[in-house]
């Protein structure tokens, strides 16, 4: 009994002490409620109606919008395009980024000085600070079929009519991917280079003394040592890829022949162009759930593999 007394007092004391810390959370809780929670819930409610927006009457539709979604080929097509976005935003930049970061850190930094390495790093990162409105415009001029930089160059080497990069339904998605890779590469490079500074230089020196070549060191030291950062980049970039909107709106408007539609753009079009607000809300809700689920899967998978390692 007497042993219980301090036990019971301790948590109570802890609670009353941490009680006032809750005050510090009031601003963000209020902000979260107004900016995220309430709109998100209202969006779910909207998805249960058929509504043209504005003063038009709302018609209760239950889960009808979601059922319609399941049979909407364009919607599934937009999700298929999300996979291409993942290739352009996650897979390719992460692979190239890890090699570039390792070369800059392990080779350029040592052989030509850290200044050279940070200068190169900054040039890779530059597209990341660009307003997407500007990036989209630049690439639309580069990819223009007549006046564009690429086709002008092709003409100068004798190819009279280069491809219509953004106008050909079979090509447009790959052209968008090209811009996204260019936009994205700097992000993994910067994160991975920062991670490499954490790695003990003696590890590399020992490996070098043992005669391990660059490729061996890359596989045996670099990649395993920065695994947490690789995961971080893959997670954030995957979420970003599933949310892609502005590049599509600016570069192609979803066209040609809907070949570059992504879920967020499809929702936007239903909201603001087709006046199918309820349907747009259903697309947005469904996309959100997919994003949360994929992020959760990635986190669980990472935790598990971390535990297996010990």
């Amino acid at each position: 009994m007497s042993a219980l007394v301090p036990d019971r007092r301790l948590p109570r004391k802890g609670r009353s002490r941490s009680g006032s810390y809750w005050l510090y959370l009031i601003p963000i809780a209020a902000g979260f409620a107004v900016v995220v929670a309430a709109p998100f819930v209202m969006n779910i409610v909207l998805s249960l109606y058929q509504w043209k927006g504005g003063m038009a009457p709302k018609h209760w539709y239950g889960l009808g919008n979601y059922l319609d979604l399941m049979h909407d080929a364009e919607f599934w097509h937009s999700f298929r395009n999300s996979l291409f976005m993942i290739v352009a935003i996650v897979v390719v930049p992460t692979l190239i980024g890890i090699v570039l970061a390792a070369v800059l850190f392990d080779y350029i930094g040592k052989a030509f000085g850290n200044r050279a390495a940070s200068f190169l790093r900054a040039t890779y990162y530059l597209p990341q600070i660009l307003p997407i409105a500007v990036a989209g415009f630049i690439w639309s001029t580069i990819l223009d079929p007549r006046q564009g930089s690429i086709n002008t160059y092709l003409r100068s080497i004798g190819i009279a009519s280069g491809p219509d990069w953004l106008g050909d339904p079979h090509l447009a998605l790959y052209s968008v991917m090209l811009m996204l890779i260019w936009l994205q590469i700097g992000y993994p490079v910067v994160v991975f280079m920062a991670a490499l500074q954490r790695v003990d230089p003696e590890l590399y020196e020992a490996a070098e003394l043992d005669g391990a070549g660059w490729l061996r060191r890359f596989r045996a030291i670099t990649v395993p040592q920065i695994r947490p950062e690789v995961f971080f980049v893959v997670l954030t970039a995957t979420v970003g890829a599933l949310k892609v909107f502005a590049p599509i709106l600016i570069l192609t408007g979803g066209g040609p022949e809907n070949s570059t539609v992504v879920p967020s753009y499809y929702a936007y079009r239903n909201f603001f162009e087709l006046s199918r607000v309820g349907y747009g809300a259903a697309i947005a809700t469904f996309t959100s759930v997919v994003i949360f689920a994929i992020a959760a899967l990635l986190i669980v998978w990472q935790r598990r593999s971390e535990r297996q390692e010990g």
Partner: protein
């Protein structure tokens, strides 16, 4: 999750100078390889920079020069003609003022909000702090289209549609959700002695936040301010919907709106693009050093 990422102000290891390293022998054997690597990285850098070079070249051409010689030629003469034309079509000073105000306010308010919230979670260790972080993480993941329609009507309802404050409020919260997550994990690494000493000195929690925690976290906070500024400056979707009126438009939206009108000359848009990216570029160059510490603060558009 908290401990997986290194704290932002990580120690920058000082590496020995190239000449002083061992394995001089093998180093000489790899000599050509070293130049090959340089060639590879410099080529990559050139490819990355090429679009920027084209932008600059074509911003200073006359439109006649552009249509005659195409986008790849050197300008016959560098003229500011396209810039003055852009400035006559777009009320750039107003857009610039809006953008500076929005991005600046979000950067500082967002960082302050992150600091206060992270204090309760990282140091106060309030109950369910893990769950609170998870909810904030959701806020960073939610696609904007799932919020946009209610936000649009909500802003209209309270009279904030076409007011820069609507965007300031939304982005302060969204950026702070991420900032809180980051700062909370940094705060868990603060030495306990530091805080205990302050408690013994009789400092209140509020005083500890501003006199002990804030100075220690200053470098991390400055990284947050830089990134919040750049991200908010570049935002597209929400400002496009919430700030329709030209008097409230941001720099990127003004550019995009002008582009939507068909007969606009390419050189004019080049000039406008250059003007639109200049402020973030300056900001970026000034704070380029923070990049190595910015680390996990990077993000995806």
């Amino acid at each position: 999750m908290n401990d997986e990422f290194p704290p932002a102000p990580s120690v920058v290891a000082t590496r020995p100078h190239p000449g002083t390293e061992p394995a001089e022998q093998s180093r000489r054997n790899r000599y050509p390889l070293r130049w090959l690597m340089l060639l590879m990285t410099v080529t990559a850098a050139t490819v990355m920079l090429a679009p920027f070079l084209l932008l600059v070249l074509n911003a200073f051409k006359t439109s006649a020069d552009y249509s005659r010689h195409g986008p790849l030629s050197w300008p016959a003469a560098f003229t500011p003609q396209a810039f003055s034309r852009y400035l006559s079509l777009v009320d750039f000073p107003v857009a610039l003022g809006n953008s500076v105000f929005i991005a600046g306010a979000v950067a500082f308010l967002g960082a302050a909000l992150s600091l206060i919230s992270a204090y309760a979670i990282g140091i106060g260790k309030v109950r369910c702090n893990g769950a609170i972080l998870a909810v904030l993480l959701l806020a960073t993941m939610v696609p904007q289209e799932a919020l946009i329609y209610p936000l649009f009507y909500g802003a209209e309802e309270v009279g904030l549609l076409n007011s820069v404050w609507s965007v300031v409020i939304v982005f302060t919260v969204l950026q702070a959700a991420f900032g809180t997550y980051l700062l909370a994990s940094v705060m868990t690494t603060l030495p306990k002695e530091l805080l205990e000493a302050a408690v013994i000195d009789g400092a209140s929690r509020w005083q500890i936040l501003w006199r002990v925690v804030f100075p220690v976290l200053r470098p991390t906070l400055s990284v947050l301010v830089v990134f919040f500024f750049i991200w908010t400056w570049n935002e597209f979707y929400l400002p496009l919907i919430l700030l329709n009126d030209p008097s409230a438009q941001t720099v990127p939206i003004a550019l995009a709106t002008l582009r939507g009108q068909h007969s606009i000359d390419i050189t004019v848009l080049n000039a406008g693009s250059l003007l639109s990216l200049l402020p973030t570029l300056v900001f970026f160059l000034v704070f380029q050093r923070t990049l190595s510490r910015g680390v996990t603060a990077g993000a995806v558009k």
